[in-house]
């Protein structure tokens, strides 16, 4: 690790950058664009976000608040739980514990630093965590392993049985840093009685763990507030997603990132609700005018990303798609599985229902919701099993009228790389051109963005899509 990197706490560093970035929007446009000249690398993320107007500003505030919460947690008497993107933080907020979501922090670093999070990625390997492990965790984990992050109090994850590579990162950290650890573990099926019961029992174990580690008892009223807010968020998302199925798609492409990042940061918190409301207004206005959300205003093609987006470096992927008139109708991260979601018509049992009647019903809600988080829902069993990745992706492609499917992940994703080839072949049989990207969403050293873009271009050209 470079000596200068060792001088900074990762949480404080990201917080400072985002906090400062948030302030740049307070001046005039002239001042803002003059300022961009002085941040030649960061402008690649700042400019597009700010261009999204009020939602962009709210997004910056949201991220700043999230990072500030981490930095100030101990001073505020709160505990920090290291966790993963597919773990709903709602339960942590309900118990006054601050989530430190590795992939979210890795994403922020990958997006905004010219050299990405290379030092942290590599530091993991220096202490023996395998280089073949997923970069989505390593991109920030290295900082915590090196003592360059806030002191973590406990570790919780929910990826065992879904993505063992992910879960292993947290188990490794627990052993390496000697921190208390709890894993939610998922069976390879979704809706059977025994699995529903498993989800519930496992979640009770989680709550007992959180109570023990935080010293906070679960508070029924507080949990109800969080779930009520979640219900509001789900309803707004339903509105937005229904409009996303329109042709042209009226949703600005960067909202995809705002939707899932916001949910990973602040599920069940009112600041996320406010941002969603702003976004719904914009999407509604575009829909009323039958206008595409793309900057060009012209939608040439509709793409479904069946896995994750590309975050290294800046917002290059979305810029590229936007420039080519390609709408992104979502990815595995941006979908939520409330039983009322537009894409669950015909398979409502695959979704969760928010029930705030009493503590038992609320815990059950959280357990079933967590079991339907991105990846947790659809990557646990064989990809062609009921409710799993293929059925799920195909359903999304149909509901959102996607013209093609794109896979992007990380080389560390043993889980999807183990099946993506037959998955893509099956998708092609359904008439959907499917492209497998070979880069790393978090590490541009694996494949430069230029090379990635060239290959994307080639796919769309060769398949006659553009």
């Amino acid at each position: 690790m470079r000596p200068e990197i060792k001088e900074y706490n990762i949480d404080w560093m990201i917080w400072s950058i985002i906090k400062t970035a948030g302030r740049t929007t307070r001046g005039s446009d002239k001042e803002f664009y003059a300022m961009l000249e002085y941040v030649p690398y960061f402008r690649g993320i700042l400019d597009p976000i700010v261009r999204e107007g009020e939602a962009g500003k709210q997004f910056l505030e949201l991220v700043g608040e999230y990072m500030g919460n981490i930095v100030n947690a101990h001073d505020d008497g709160k505990k920090l739980a290291m966790t993963t993107f597919c773990f709903s933080p709602a339960i942590l907020y309900a118990m006054d514990i601050m989530p430190v979501t590795l992939e979210a922090i890795s994403t922020l670093g990958a997006l905004m630093w010219r050299r990405g999070t290379y030092d942290y990625l590599d530091y993991c390997c220096e202490v023996g965590f395998t280089e073949t492990s997923c970069s989505s965790q390593r991109g920030s984990l290295g900082a915590y392993l090196a003592g360059l992050g806030e002191n973590i109090d406990m570790i919780v994850c929910d990826s065992a049985g879904v993505c063992d590579t992910n879960a292993n990162a947290f188990a490794f950290t627990s052993a390496y840093l000697d921190k208390p650890f709890y894993q939610l573990n998922y069976p390879p099926e979704l809706v059977t009685d025994r699995t529903t019961s498993y989800h519930r029992e496992d979640y009770y174990g989680l709550i007992a763990f959180l109570e023990e580690q935080s010293g906070n008892k679960i508070d029924e009223d507080r949990l109800r507030d969080v779930l009520t807010e979640l219900q509001k968020q789900d309803e707004i998302l339903t509105d937005i997603e229904e409009m996303q199925s329109l042709v042209p798609n009226p949703m600005p492409i960067l909202y995809n990132l705002f939707i899932y990042a916001g949910r990973f940061f602040f599920a069940g918190m009112d600041n996320y609700t406010r941002m969603l409301e702003t976004m719904r207004d914009t999407v509604s206005a575009n829909a009323a005018e039958k206008k595409s959300g793309l900057r060009s205003g012209k939608e040439n093609l509709r793409s479904l990303f069946c896995y994750i987006d590309h975050f290294a470096v800046n917002l290059s992927l979305w810029d590229w798609l936007d420039e080519h008139g390609i709408t992104q109708v979502g990815n595995i991260l941006s979908k939520y599985y409330n039983a009322d979601a537009p894409y669950l018509e015909g398979s409502r049992e695959a979704g969760y229902t928010i029930n705030t009647e009493n503590l038992v019903s609320m815990i059950d809600t959280m357990a079933q919701m967590n079991a339907r988080m991105p990846m947790v829902l659809s990557i646990r069993g064989p990809y062609d099993a009921p409710y799993m990745w293929f059925e799920n992706s195909l359903m999304l492609a149909k509901v959102f009228s996607a013209d093609c499917v794109v896979y992007n992940g990380t080389p560390g994703c043993r889980n999807t790389w183990g099946m993506i080839k037959p998955f893509a072949r099956d998708m092609e049989k359904e008439g959907l051109p499917t492209y497998i990207m070979y880069g790393d969403a978090f590490d541009e050293r694996v494949e430069s963005w230029d090379a990635t873009a060239e290959r994307l271009e080639e796919f769309f050209r060769v398949r006659g899509l553009l």
Binding site: V127, G128, F129, T130, T132, S133, A160, G161, C163, D164, T165, A167, N168, F170, A171, F172, S174, A175, Y176, F181, Y182, Q183, N185, P187, P188, E189, R194, T195, S197, Y198, E201, D202, G205, G381, P382, Y383, D384, P411, G412, C413, R414, N415, T416, W417, G418, M419, I420, K421, P422, F423, R425, D426
Partner: protein, 378 residues
Amino acid sequence: MKHATTAGPIQRAEESVQNWKQNGGRVVGYTCSFLPVEVLSAANVLPARLRGTGVSQADIGDTYFGPYICSYPKCILQRAGSGQFSYLDGVIIIPGCDSMRRLDECWRKAGEDFQGIVPDFFFHFGVPHKAADHSMAWFSSEIERLIRSLEEHFGVSIGEDDLRKAITLYNKGREMIARLNNFRKASVNTLSGEEAFALSVAGTLMPRDEYNQYLGEYMDEVSSRKPGLYNGKTRFMLVGSVSDDLQLISMAESLGGVVAAETLCFGQRHEGDLIGENEEPVSAMVRHYLDESLCPRMLGGYQARLKSLKEKIEEMEIDGVIFQNIRFCDLHGSENAIFERDLEAMGIPCVRIEREYGALADTGRLRMRLEAFMERMT
């Protein structure tokens, strides 16, 4: 009986599988040590652990699996696609890790291109990653589901008595393996690591009653050896990813060492402790296979595994530990690093190597690493 070559037990085991089949017996292949093989044995079906050895190319494996996948399931798929498992009456896929989990889809999808490679009985056997009460209950229901599927598919009946008999039969083998281990202790030292490991691998293939008899005869022969046969050699322990070939062990032993213990899922870690014979058989199997596992897929169990490792190191008077992982095996690869850190802090020399599955693809590099490790200890 002859045991001139240490590959003998494995060869013998492979012949036993062929004989079983030729005599009309059914064989079901399985992929991971979490399968309660007693269930198959109770159905009079031979459980044969799938091996990927002998593969010299990966065109089939690479067609279905992506590039960042462990070579073990790729080799199994290569063999399956080449028709080498056509004798199987069934396959049970166990999601031991992400790569092995996906052997399910890749094998079935390869079956669309290579006719006849997917047996009619193709079962995905879920195994939780923890041993809490509810996961034990779920695992119990999964064993019951397996029992029902076997009964239905093979037209057999698996009663409690059948399970008890199978448990007793397998326990007998476990007891013998534990006794076999005594020959590897420093005070006796009459059994090489290569022989011991070959016997362990043979146990994952051979019909158990035949195996028990074979092991007994083998031990009689070993008993007649002069104690201290391997005295003066550096005593290694081999730890880590799945391994069922003898070459890494034979290399370590050719350099003047003896592999006095190992914890590998094809080796004695697979056998573990005895299964309770005086309790309800499914519950007893659940506890044995889930609660007593030393596999890093049981996330959060590092301290228990470290304790077990230390006890083994002390019991077998180990001089140095060889940690190995197959590339892309993150579970073992990363845990090996913490083991190394903690054992080195206790003064126990360790070396960590990464390799490919199967016959050593980079013998020179591995030999050099082991030679350097030997030098460090002498």
